[in-house]
């Protein structure tokens, strides 16, 4: 796939090329079962999971319906603790704010994982001004070496095989003295540890994201396993947090409730290795920690999503469970979605941020199987929201002409029941004959786009209505 020119508007072409990528297929197949099983065990082990889930939904709904208050309260507490809060409506504004804080002196900038900074295109902006940007999460580091964007909100390099990572280090690390080809996981991780350790100790600014912002204390919270987000913020002189406005929750206790869902839904962990609460810059008597603490709050259209039929998506805690359980994501990976977010939550969020007209295929990349909604810890009705988008796209005339023609033909038929049942019964018989004893079709007339990468299961020779009639007799 050509990642330089990828866009949410070219979803279909990108998905088609993703389906032909064998490395991608291997990598995704390895990842999927692990995520699904680990989550399942963690959720089954917690008797209170459903009760906590209901509670979490209430907390986020409450925070969202008083978002103005909690943001202002958060800001007040950050300031009280000696930090600064900056507000941006657009990614451009947010970038400008960060550049201003970074200044011209800073040479090397560390990045902890932040999806909001991806929305901002922050790395490119910093590099254009001559700063060296080092992604420190191992997954992010790997894709930075590959000049690729993340393909998963919690596992950015999930699309890469071990061989590909091995090649990347082999190609890029001779400058750090690496002469052999490392192939084992411990060696690859250790190599990255050594190289990045040097960067941690010699950088001027650290930028992290935030899983939560807490109004009660003015704290920003990151949840990580590697410890890179911590080294990125306690070693440099300046710590900048980039976060979107819907991340704010009222209290530490509320955060505890959400944390009980986040790790379990994301990686099947009861707690990730490091959950870190950062409040202001280092205190007068502290021996380490940043001298400056800044939070850049980005709206990027979210304030307009509030109060709309899409508000539920703002409860998202970016756990990734809906991606891990989505058959479409599992087949094409994250890059095909063409923008920062992928999978079910991406297909809902992307049109809201960059416009449905620039992403009208995304809501269709869904079989409405409902698995995402079932596993979403925040009870976000993802399939319903996708349907809303489809409806809107149709209303606005964004649906492509073939779909429109198909829908018209279907509408013509369903309003004429006799004709409909006659034709479907004919089709069911014909397909059953074509499928033969295997019961699947490798090729189907007019549907080569479907069958080139999947098999089409054929009907049993009777229509649903015929079977229904028989069953109820």
């Amino acid at each position: 796939m050509n990642l330089e020119n990828r866009s949410a508007a070219r979803f279909k072409q990108q998905a088609a090329s993703a389906l032909k990528d064998n490395n991608l297929k291997t990598a995704l197949a390895k990842a999927k079962d692990g995520f699904v099983l680990k989550r399942l065990h963690a959720v089954e082990d917690l008797d209170e999971f459903e009760a906590i889930r209901a509670e979490a939904r209430k907390i986020k709904d409450h925070a969202l319906s008083h978002l103005d208050f909690y943001l202002e309260e958060f800001e007040r507490k950050v300031k009280e603790n000696g930090g600064h809060v900056h507000w941006a409506q657009t990614p451009e504004q947010a970038c400008a704010l960060v550049m201003d804080i970074v200044g011209t002196e800073a040479k090397q900038v560390l990045k902890g994982k932040s999806m909001v900074s991806e929305e901002m295109g922050l790395n490119a902006a910093l590099e254009a001004k001559g700063h060296t940007v080092v992604e420190t999460d191992l997954g992010e580091y790997i894709i930075q070496l590959a000049h690729e964007p993340p393909s998963h909100i919690i596992a950015p390099a999930v699309h890469k095989t071990r061989d590909q990572i091995s090649d990347l280090f082999h190609g890029e690390h001779p400058k750090y003295g690496l002469n052999e080809r490392l192939t084992e996981v411990p060696d690859l991780v250790n190599e990255a540890r050594q190289v990045l350790r040097e960067k941690f100790l010699n950088s001027d600014v650290g930028i992290t994201g935030a899983n939560f912002l807490i109004a009660e204390t003015g704290s920003t919270v990151i949840v990580t396993n590697e410890g890179n987000g911590d080294l990125s913020q306690i070693l440099p002189k300046v710590h900048i947090v980039t976060a979107s406005i819907e991340k704010v929750v009222p209290t530490l206790n509320d955060t505890a409730t959400l944390l009980r869902l986040l790790g379990r839904s994301a990686t099947g962990q009861e707690m990730s290795s490091y959950t870190t609460f950062s409040t202001g810059p280092k205190r007068a008597n502290d021996h380490d920690g940043p001298e400056e603490f800044h939070v850049v709050l980005l709206d990027n259209g979210r304030s307009k999503v509030l109060g709309s039929e899409f508000q539920d998506i703002l409860r998202c805690i970016k756990c990734g469970a809906c991606l891990n359980h989505c058959p479409v994501y599992g087949a094409i990976g994250g890059h095909a979605y063409g923008w920062v977010y992928s999978g079910p939550m991406g297909s809902v969020l992307t049109p809201l941020i960059i416009g449905l007209e620039n992403s009208y295929d995304l809501p269709n990349a869904c079989s409405l199987n409902g698995r995402c909604a079932k596993v979403c810890p925040m009870s976000i009705p993802l399939p319903d929201l996708l349907r809303q988008h489809r409806f809107k796209a149709f209303q606005r005339g964004l649906t492509d002409s073939r779909t429109k023609l198909g829908l018209k033909a279907w509408a013509y038929l369903v309003t004429r029941p006799k004709l409909y049942s006659g034709l479907t019964s004919l089709a069911a018989k014909a397909l059953a004959l074509l499928g033969g004893s295997r019961g699947v079709l490798r090729k189907a007339p007019l549907a080569s786009g479907w069958t080139s990468v999947r098999d089409l299961p054929v009907p049993q020779g009777q229509t649903f209505q015929q079977q229904w009639k028989k069953a109820s007799e």
């Binding site: 504004q93 991780v189 941690f200 206790n253 505890a256 009980r260 490091y274 709050l297 307009k304």
Partner: protein, 219 residues
Amino acid sequence: MSETRRQIIDNIRASLGRGPLPDGVVTQLRARISEPEQGIRPRFDQDLAERFGEKLQSVAGTLTRVATLNDVPSAIQQYLDQHQLSKNIVMSTHAVLDGIEWPEDWEIEQRPARGEDTISVTGAYAGVAETGTVAILSGTESPSTLNFLPDDHIVVIRMDQIVSHFEDLWWLLQKQDLDMPRTVNLITGPSRTADVEQTIQLGAHGPRRFHVVLVEQRE
């Protein structure tokens, strides 16, 4: 107030179909913060120390239980021997470590950690039994770098510092009227990554090993 800030707040209010919140509601919201709601706590029947140890070990942390603070040095010595580590140790000045007499042949420095340090020994603010988590607050006596730079991080914690759930930890902070320190680290096991083919590998950027010495003696 910046123009952008005003616009964002205005947009939020417009979307929610209202103006600024009435005073009565603001009072309620402030009360919700000062008297925070209790979450739903995962239930467990085990004794706190037992649960703490079990959970910590389930995430590749290790644990030694000792009777008194005097037993701490030999417990750590054992750990150092087991992993064939040096006796060059960076240490925090946390109160729990204060009265302990360390072996004379250890090279101890009390300071924040540097890149070349390999072993740190620190205290902690509390342990959380729910998930086997250790809470460390940054401060003069507890620099955060000690928790992340060395390969081996050893935490000494007294049994009466173990609380049941995260809500208890926050309650303790509030009760002691402690302002939020710059950094609160909730640490649950050693550093790890699964970014290469989802294979879990310990020691990504932070400590490769995380060891707790749990002291039964009460304060």
